[in-house]
Symmetry: C2
């Protein structure tokens, strides 16, 4: 038969059939009334998911592009800005902030560490006057989800604006943009929002608008995009097919209800961890319910995790994520945000078990799936 494929990465994630069907609809013009109706509804749904009354600016780009919109709009050359990083994405933002000419203070934790308020407080104290603090809510490269509410509070106390990378956390775990007083929240279509990649969003507070810098920008300019969105227009031809797909995907998400979605992700994470541990694997991501986005685990001694990922993909049609950067070859990652139920997790675990045995590991057979199903049963408190 034709190969069946299983996509179990923390982005891109699988897209529900209703959303795929929407993509196949004939292209409509972005200045048509029917597109504007879709756009208006989609932007309103984004505000619901973001839990914000602020504008959510939409860009045809990847998550990195939406992040660039934050950096390009908030930076004047020489501004002191602080990036708190503990993994691949945090480091990307540090590189970007530097590229835009800021005076970067890079508070760099070890990959896999969970950034704590005290880390930020001491970094800010050392740095002196910082205009902007960049945080990564869910560090997809390590599986760590930090307490961004507490971190944001520390940054605000120090008088800084707060920019949060929520690319893999928005719609995945609780994130209260307004209640937690976060100025800029960046996300993308291809993770918990159950849409293909190609759209990314930046929610912007009044304080952030007021703090715009003198840096060069055009495509990612906030004011231009904001002005267009006031009449449900886009500054530049948007990816109309992706916008209507995102609208449908957000509808599915909100119909399920954010709380129910978050609960499901926690239980999927629990199932994944318990299954991995039942196979005797050592977790790399934290072993608690904060790990609702992606589960990262070490391969057994002597087995290269890249080899496991390749074997799974080439022989079994199962796509997991490899380790990135410092963690390359050491860990593999199973994503569980978006369009996943528990049987996706048991499929991933069964495939990992099979492939590890093929690679010579000694694994007790059959325990992972059973243990995962048990762990999934009970809703978190």
């Amino acid at each position: 038969m034709a190969e069946k494929r299983y996509l179990l990465t923390p982005g891109p994630t699988p897209v529900p059939p209703e959303v795929l069907a929407e993509l196949a609809k004939p292209v409509i013009h972005h200045r048509e009334r029917d597109f504007r109706e879709i756009y208006e509804r989609c932007l309103a749904r984004l505000q619901d998911v973001y839990r914000t009354k602020n504008d959510v600016l939409m860009f045809t780009t990847s998550g990195t592009g939406a992040f660039e919109s934050a950096v390009a709009n908030l930076t004047s050359a020489g501004d002191r800005q602080l990036v708190l990083s503990a993994g691949n994405f945090g480091e990307r933002w540090a590189g970007m902030v530097r590229a835009f000419g800021a005076d970067l203070v890079h508070a760099r934790l070890e990959w896999g560490e969970t950034p704590e308020p005290e880390d930020l407080r001491s970094a800010l104290a050392d740095a002196g006057d910082v205009k902007v603090v960049y945080l990564t809510h869910s560090e997809t490269s390590t599986g760590v989800v930090c307490d961004v509410q507490a971190l944001a509070a520390v940054a605000k106390e120090a008088g800084a604006l707060v920019v949060v990378d929520a690319v893999s956390s928005l719609g995945a775990v609780p994130l209260e943009s307004d209640l937690w007083d976060i100025d800029v929240v960046v996300s993308g279509s291809q993770k918990a929002l159950m849409c293909p990649p190609g759209l990314a969003m930046t929610a912007v507070s009044d304080a952030a608008y007021a703090a715009q810098g003198t840096g060069a920008r055009f495509y990612f300019d906030w004011n231009r995009t904001r002005k267009a969105q006031e009449v449900f227009d886009a500054s530049f031809t948007p990816a109309v097919s992706l916008v209507r797909a995102l609208d449908v995907a957000l509808g599915l998400l909100l119909d399920e209800g954010l709380e129910a979605v978050f609960d499901r992700h926690v239980r999927l994470g629990r199932a994944c961890r318990e299954g991995a541990k039942a196979m005797g694997l050592e977790l790399s991501s934290p072993d608690d319910d904060s790990s609702a986005v992606v589960t990262a685990a070490h391969t057994p001694e002597g087995i290269d995790s890249d080899e496991l990922v390749l074997l799974l993909r080439d022989r079994h049609g199962v796509t997991l994520a490899p380790g990135q950067g410092e963690l390359k070859g050491k860990i593999f990652r199973i994503g569980h945000i978006g369009y996943y139920d528990v049987f996706d997790i048991t499929t991933a675990l069964a495939a990992v078990e099979l492939a590890l045995v093929e690679l010579g590991a000694e694994i007790e057979r059959g325990v992972a799936v059973t243990r995962a199903l048990e762990a999934f049963e009970h809703s978190p408190v």
Copy 2:
């Protein structure tokens, strides 16, 4: 019945059913072998369409974003750069070049004028030492397609790099990137390439790589994208669904053959002009075979063209493009690049005839369609 819709704008353009079906396929991961195979083939097909051996860098963005990649990579603050404009898009590029801190020389012709080599030669002579010249091959706002080969030669003579906006000309009319020695050619997925909006491309010559400036950039950085593409990877998660759609669309285009496609566009333009004139309308775009991309016409005295466009859309399901900027309310535009045959043109003409009569114009009935079919018959020399 459900309303039937007809999209006849110069972008987004209608997408063939094979391409729409490709969009609805399950999402695959961008670092998978199967995606890389698609990506490799798509990039090679782009080189065929571009008629270049240079890298064609692909970005998830609109055409404006790919243009920004040119400006952001080629500009150091204070560089003298020249934009030759004669319409809405040329003016956009002037605004962008200014936003990136160049010392802009804006050679601004009237909207609808055809830029001639002499215009550029004298502007360059006045300006002195110019590092980069920006040209618009097909000015979609007016329907003018210029002789970009002759203009590029003038710019090269003056020692400048040449950047060409080919967003609505690539795959629409002849464009020989290498033969005409054009350094940077920018295009987008949603016009003659018969794909939805969301991808845009920048072909870059060695001379252009060597001339990179110190301007801030990250998402649109050429070196980063070039390096990733060497192994058929993307720097940042690309719009995978759109990439596979573009690959299929480019396959259709190349199967038809570029020469056959260009010939069809010329004949569609001829049909459209002859039909419009048969109704007694005054053309706004040039009345010759250079007008292969979009036909622009004035509405009869006393009829606002925005009103015509709205009526066509709301009552008849036919979407044409209105006039932009200075031409707003004065002209309407019918696109004929991409997935169009002559019956799309007769539909557009029949609808315009009907709507103009509804708006009170005196139009001889039935002549436009017949005249268009006759004009389409004969292949251009």
